[in-house]
């Protein structure tokens, strides 16, 4: 299993669709992608659409989660954090994307994120079929 960290600066020059295509391709290559920054809601919906177009007998889709670093902050802190982020060029939050053949489930609640992986046997079964 490969976990690949993608800096926002690596994809910032791509169009929105280009970014999603790149992330989806990495997931199709059985990589778990940890992207710096979060997708916009419209990009999340577009990612689901693009992902659906790719599903076939072998590729079963993706699991993904957005980790919003600002969720529990007060309004004033959010404004302050945003200003600092703009000045430093830092993209807050993370996006995790991985193939459904490897990730069983991503559990989210306001305080933690759990990445549940498929059992080895189950993964081997999926690979054999490929």
């Amino acid at each position: 299993m490969i976990i690949e960290f993608v800096r926002y600066s690596d994809i910032k020059d791509l169009s929105s669709l280009g970014r999603l295509r790149k992330l989806l391709k990495m997931a199709k290559d059985d990589k778990i992608v940890l992207l710096e920054g979060r997708l916009k809601p419209q990009e999340e919906a577009e990612l689901i659409k693009m992902n659906m177009e790719e599903i076939d007998d072998e590729f079963k889709g993706i699991e993904f989660a957005i980790i919003d670093a600002e969720n529990n902050e007060s309004t004033w802190n959010k404004i302050r954090t945003k200003l600092v982020n703009i000045m430093l060029g830092y993209k807050p939050g993370f996006t995790i994307i991985g193939p459904a053949s490897i990730i069983k489930e991503i559990k989210q609640d306001p305080h933690k994120i759990e990445l549940l992986m498929k059992e080895n046997e189950e993964r081997k079964k999926n690979k054999k079929k490929k």
């Binding site: 689901i48 889709g61 993706i62």
Partner: protein
């Protein structure tokens, strides 16, 4: 005269909007969207809207029931009800095999389900009001739920969150309320009609 025209245009806009009001049912698979659609259609038209099943992705095409008129006291509301396929990020035909389907049937269902998800997302832009139907026995903090709500917020579409299946022991409305505190959450059982009047009341408030 100009003021009169502005007022007339304003009234026309309201009238036009009401006449073509589209209310969409959105949510993950097996939340009970079609069961709720059937409940609404049975209550006001005396007929069902679609087939329901325990196997996920039973609704794989957009279903529309036109001209539903509902009344509550002096209030009336006319709308077209749009039942959408459940939104998911993965579809595995082998899940349908486990439910007893033949391989060809399972693969066909999976293919149709993927198209259904794409159509459901495309139709978001056409909605005037969206009812997000969630299974209240399940964890509401899923990316599909967050993506649906996030997209409705971004499009400024009025939303009612329905916590369905309150007739089941594991039902937990409070967890859904905590996940989406910005919206009115109505707990119902679409199957048995529990608390359905509260749902209609909420619909009048939002629409």
């Amino acid at each position: 005269m100009q003021l009169f025209n502005i007022f007339k245009r304003f009234l026309n806009r309201i009238f036009k909007k009401k006449k073509h009001l589209k209310i969409g049912l959105y949510g993950p698979p097996n939340g009970g969207k079609t069961t709720l659609a059937n409940r609404i259609c049975q209550d006001w038209l005396g007929e069902d809207m679609g087939k329901v099943s325990n196997i996920a992705h039973e609704t794989r095409e957009i279903q529309i029931k036109e001209q539903i008129h509902i009344k509550s006291g002096n209030k009336e509301l006319s709308f077209n009800l749009v039942d959408t396929p459940g939104i998911a990020t993965k579809i595995d035909y082998e899940e349908f095999l486990k439910a007893g389907m033949k391989e060809s049937e399972a693969k066909k269902r999976a293919k149709e389900a993927t198209k259904g998800v794409i159509d459901a997302i495309r139709w978001l832009d056409n909605m005037d009001v969206v009812i997000v139907v969630l299974d209240s026995t399940k964890d509401p903090y899923t990316q599909v739920n967050l993506t649906i709500i996030g997209n409705l917020e971004a499009r400024k579409i009025p939303v009612i969150v329905v916590a369905n299946k309150i007739d089941l022991k594991k039902s937990n409305i409070k967890k859904i309320e905590a996940a989406f505190p910005q919206y009115k959450v109505v707990g119902i059982s679409a199957k048995y009609g529990d608390n359905i009047d509260e749902f209609y009341k909420a619909l009048f408030e939002v629409a």
